[in-house]
Symmetry: C2
Subunit: 148 residues, 2 copies
């Protein structure tokens, strides 16, 4: 598959790269990037085990890094790409940051935010299912390994 430059798929590939770093460190493999003006301004992967901190989800770390980069806690011109549907905590963080778009790959029916209704900011657009199979496959690989 050829990915066009600046496409959602292209940025999700970068989020997947982050997720693979998480997998390599035995973390639940979720990755995120934040994009502004077509540029990736923050990259992060889940580090809850390494940091022993439940708040260290990929999205949280990426949003904090993006705010540091922009010098503004509001990220109204930014898109958050994340490989898996954000949880309630991360959806809440994106609400406060008023991000322009949230784009995720694989759905997370049990822990994803969507079962609680629309927790995103009214101005935040949502796109879903981008490279969903690759994103979900990483998760399956992790949990299959864990069960062994």
């Amino acid at each position: 598959m050829t990915l066009s430059l600046y496409s959602d798929e292209q940025y999700m590939q970068q989020a997947l790269k982050q997720a693979r770093y998480a997998l390599a460190e035995d973390e639940i493999p979720i990755g995120a990037v934040v994009v502004m003006d077509k540029q990736i301004i923050a990259r992060a992967y889940n580090q809850t085990e390494k940091l022993r901190d439940v708040t260290a989800h990929a999205e949280m770390l990426a949003l904090t890094a993006a705010a540091n980069f922009v010098g503004n806690k509001y990220l109204a011109d930014c898109t958050l790409y994340v490989t898996v549907e954000p949880c309630v905590m991360c959806a809440g963080a994106s609400f406060w940051a008023q991000v322009k778009r949230v784009v995720y790959g694989a759905a997370e029916e049990k822990r994803g935010f969507r079962r609680y209704g629309n927790l995103l900011h009214p101005r935040t657009e949502l796109a879903t299912g981008i490279l969903a199979e690759e994103c979900a496959a990483l998760m399956q690989q992790f949990f299959t390994q864990k069960r062994k």
Copy 2:
């Protein structure tokens, strides 16, 4: 009013002290403490302006500090005291940390988590309305000053 030692009111007074630090720094005045075995193991106040980071809510900072103290991301023996009803993000964080109890002072009907249903962990107990008037008064003081 005399406060008995180890009462919810006593710990909420400490959370209020944190909230006053926030007020002094022109932050939305919300404070939190985390208690384990009757001891306060973490204290924090909202620092979203200072850190330019929407994730720097009092609860988030307190939960992260508590996890660092305990050396465990799970806080199943801990109570989170916070002066104002947590938002969705902070409720989500308390879910992941599996805190034993969440105790808040003033309700927050617009941005509090409760309008979205019970976002807390099934094992988390909830107590509300502790020193609610003092907690709410600090918030009112802040927003009245802002409007001037």
